[in-house]
């Protein structure tokens, strides 16, 4: 069952990669504002439409 150590290794490395990404997100302020991004995605297209009209 050696393969299981390889798979666990892969999974852990993958998890560590995601952990790194998570820390990056936290430290670079990605998650500082957890409200406006949800509103922002609604706004941009609407403005664009107005311009065309």
């Amino acid at each position: 069952m050696n393969i299981i150590y390889f798979l666990i290794g892969c999974s852990v490395l993958l998890a560590l990669g995601f952990l790194g990404a998570f820390f990056w997100a936290q430290r670079s302020g990605q998650n500082d504002d957890l409200y406006t991004p949800s509103i922002r995605i609604l706004l941009d297209d609407e403005q664009e439409k107005d311009e065309e009209k």
Binding site: M1, N2, L13, G17, R27, P37, L42, D45
Partner: protein, 708 residues
């Protein structure tokens, strides 16, 4: 700072959209054909290229990688540009990605009916296509990260995180599950054998569900649902939270596909524990989606697109509740190998993936064509017939799964199997299979109506191939220049970060892989278990070519109902020479792990020629072409050499005389058949497959009698 003008690329979105619809119809049509074959075997049109075993992988590959795959790319290319306020990184890469992906699908459509397959579920494509998939996936990755790199919006919206996780994880999974040793241009053997191969396959298999059918679709849901309802997601905080929880937990759940097999118990328990935990982040996504519509349910009443989204989210919630339940050993003991699993995956596939895709198509196509949907009535018809189709599909399959499993486990008061003949249980559930194909047909009809509706929509509008947009460029982050810590600087460069993390993963892979490949396995070997003879090996490859594994498992679980029916339960040591493993995941027919020597050669000959001669009412197709086709022995030597390279103890130089042994064994079987007045030349394919079937599970029986 001046706002910058740029254009969104809508043409690539449109192209992926067309591919989604076209492949969707093809993939579902193939699904309908094989569903009918399960009660009317003649639906294979007497043709080996359209027989269940070969085109069932075509159905799964077409709906997963062609229909859902193209839908993912359509949604990602549309939303990524707008979320990042930037055109895709490179139009050329977008084109290569699109055409490369379609070419891969076409190669699957050609090779799978020809029986060219690795037999790993959802990873059936042979090694040259695996390499092509890797290359195109990297193109997609460069294009996506390139766009992230030149973005005009600092914050990465949660949908993008889901896309990133999809890209990275699928890359790793695909590469690890494609470790094959090529024998020829279109034939290879899996590097791992037996239980190890099974673990790799289901580590991949479950995560293909997780990171191809789930995470990208959650990303799409987080962009398109708020857009459609014109209201923000219920809780952005929850979306971030459940994203991280989901990707950390999902990757460990694979072993729940191997409960009660010879996989070590602790690994099974690990899989179960993580599967049960998964319910929390999964439902986080469903609840977040449904609550986005709070106070807007009046919109759902009039808006058919939102109806599609509500059913999709509900189906997601049901499938992800059911998943953890199915991973509990007691439930799994009944559900595994049965139609219950087929119902489970189709609630996810038809409901979650299908309906979300339809919702996006109905929303997106009119938008990029600057027009309104051609017919809302038709869309509404599609919604209702699709929903009914799902119900007509799933409910009979749940019923069938329960019925058959319980029948197979039922004992008489005297302690005998109540239904010793497997076929009896099959015949019992045929009405449910007929219902299922009607449900599937309704669903397909809905998709065809959608295709017409969308075509008319496109014809009445005009594609805005390049949509004008305006945004402020990204203000440089002042801290970058001042910071000297290399890691902090690296973190701000997503591409470099990606390359380095992939390198780290690859280095880790090789560090871990090398000892595994060079040191012999610590699976307890059983002295009586011997490598396959050349003829049996060729027969096994025919078994793989015909896709027998699609209906017949080769692993006996330690239940009395199974050991009574099939024989001694399977041991890990029995599979050490099985490259690839052929345990299967569904018992449409009986298990074959101990099929060897149960019947005579003549029985197998007649049964393969026309199963109904030996088992009246059987739904197995005729394999009469095995009688007329001559066995190709040109690769025997290469196959033996490849197997030896993988650790199968064939003596050195055996590849040169393998064909001599093969001829000898084939003549013996042909002579034996002639005693039963069956005249067949010894060089026909059927001889090889009989040799293989007669070998199955016999090594252990031999040792048992030897002990007595």
């Amino acid at each position: 700072m001046q706002p910058e003008n740029f254009y969104y690329d809508n043409k690539i979105v449109r192209n992926f959209g067309i591919a989604t619809v076209v492949w969707g119809i093809i993939g579902m049509t193939v699904g309908l054909i094989i569903a009918i074959q399960l009660y009317h075997p003649g639906m294979n049109m007497g043709n080996q290229y359209t027989t269940y075993g070969r085109i069932r992988p075509l159905h799964t590959n077409a709906v997963i990688f062609a229909f859902v795959g193209n839908a993912i790319f359509m949604g990602v290319y549309y939303s990524l540009q707008r979320l990042l306020k930037a055109r895709m990184f490179s139009d050329l890469l977008s084109k290569i990605h699109f055409w490369g992906w379609q070419l891969i699908i076409v190669s699957a459509v050609i090779t799978l009916p020809l029986g060219i397959t690795t037999s790993h579920e959802y990873a059936e494509l042979e090694w040259p296509i695996d390499i092509a998939i890797t290359l195109i996936w990297v193109v997609f990755g460069i294009n996506m990260f390139g766009t992230i790199f030149k973005r005009r919006e600092r914050h990465l919206y949660v949908a993008i995180w889901f896309y990133i996780a999809t890209f990275i994880t699928i890359a790793v999974l695909h590469v690890v599950n494609s470790f094959e040793l090529p024998v020829s241009f279109l034939k290879s053997y899996m590097v791992y054998a037996g239980v190890q191969d099974a673990l790799v396959q289901w580590w991949y298999g479950h995560n293909a569900v997780a990171f191809f059918l789930t995470t990208p679709y959650l990303g799409l849901m987080y962009y398109f649902l708020p857009k459609m309802a014109n209201r923000p997601i219920y809780s952005y905080k929850l979306s971030i939270l459940h994203f991280w929880a989901l990707i950390f937990i999902y990757i460990w759940a694979g072993p729940h596909h191997l409960l009660y097999t010879t996989l070590p118990g602790w690994a099974q328990s690990l899989g179960v524990a993580f599967s049960v935990m998964l319910i929390a982040p999964s439902w986080g996504g469903m609840i977040n989606g449904l609550l986005t519509l709070r106070g807007a349910w009046d919109k759902v009443r009039d808006n058919v697109i939102l109806k599609f989204m509500v059913v999709a989210l509900t189906a997601y919630g049901m499938a992800t509740f059911e998943g953890p339940m199915l991973s509990l050993k007691q439930v799994n003991g009944i559900a595994h190998f049965s139609d219950w699993i087929i119902a489970h995956v189709h609630v996810g596939a038809l409901g979650w993936n299908g309906f979300l895709t339809f919702g996006i198509l109905y929303w997106l196509i009119p938008r990029i064509y600057r027009t309104d949907l051609y017919s809302k009535k038709m869309a509404s018809f599609h919604f209702w017939i699709g929903t009914l189709g799902i119900l007509f599909y799933a409910i009979p399959m749940y019923w069938a799964g329960f019925t058959q499993s319980l029948m197979l486990k039922e004992f008489t008061p005297e302690g005998m199997l109540k239904y010793p003949n497997f076929l009896e249980t099959t015949l019992q559930i045929l009405p449910m299979h007929i219902m299922r194909s009607i449900g599937g047909g309704m669903y397909l009809l809905g998709v065809i109506v959608m295709a017409y509706n969308l075509t008319r929509t496109a014809l009445q509008g005009k594609l805005v191939a390049d949509e004008a947009a305006q945004a402020m460029p990204l203000a440089p982050v002042q801290t970058i220049a001042r910071e000297n810590k290399w890691h902090r600087r690296l973190e701000r460069k997503p591409i470099q970060m990606l390359v380095i993390s992939l390198l780290v993963i690859l280095v880790g892979t090789f560090v871990e892989l090398m000892p595994t490949l060079t040191i012999s396995s610590n699976i307890p070997t059983i002295a009586a278990v011997k490598p396959y003879t050349p003829l049996e090996l060729q027969g096994r490859d025919l078994y793989i070519r015909e896709g027998c594994v699609g209906c017949h498992s080769q692993t006996i679980r330690p239940f009395r109902s199974e050991t009574e029916r099939y024989g001694e339960y399977s041991k890990a040591g029995e599979f050490v020479y099985d490259h690839p493993f052929l345990w299967g995941s569904k018992r449409t027919g009986p298990d074959l792990a101990r099929e060897g020597q149960k019947y005579g050669n003549a029985w197998h000959y007649n049964h393969l020629m026309d199963p109904r001669l030996m088992s009246p009412g059987s739904i197995m197709p005729n394999y009469d072409w095995l009688i007329t086709q001559t066995l190709d022995t040109s690769l025997t030597g290469a196959k033996i050499a490849a197997m030896r390279k993988l650790g199968v103890p064939y003596p050195a130089g055996y590849e040169n005389k393998a064909n001599k042994d093969l001829d000898k064994q084939a003549r013996e079987i042909a002579d034996n058949l002639s005693k039963d007045h069956i005249k067949v030349k010894s060089d026909k394919e059927i001889i090889a497959i009989i040799a293989y079937l007669q070998r199955l599970g016999t090594d252990i029986k031999v040792s048992k009698t030897a002990n007595k």
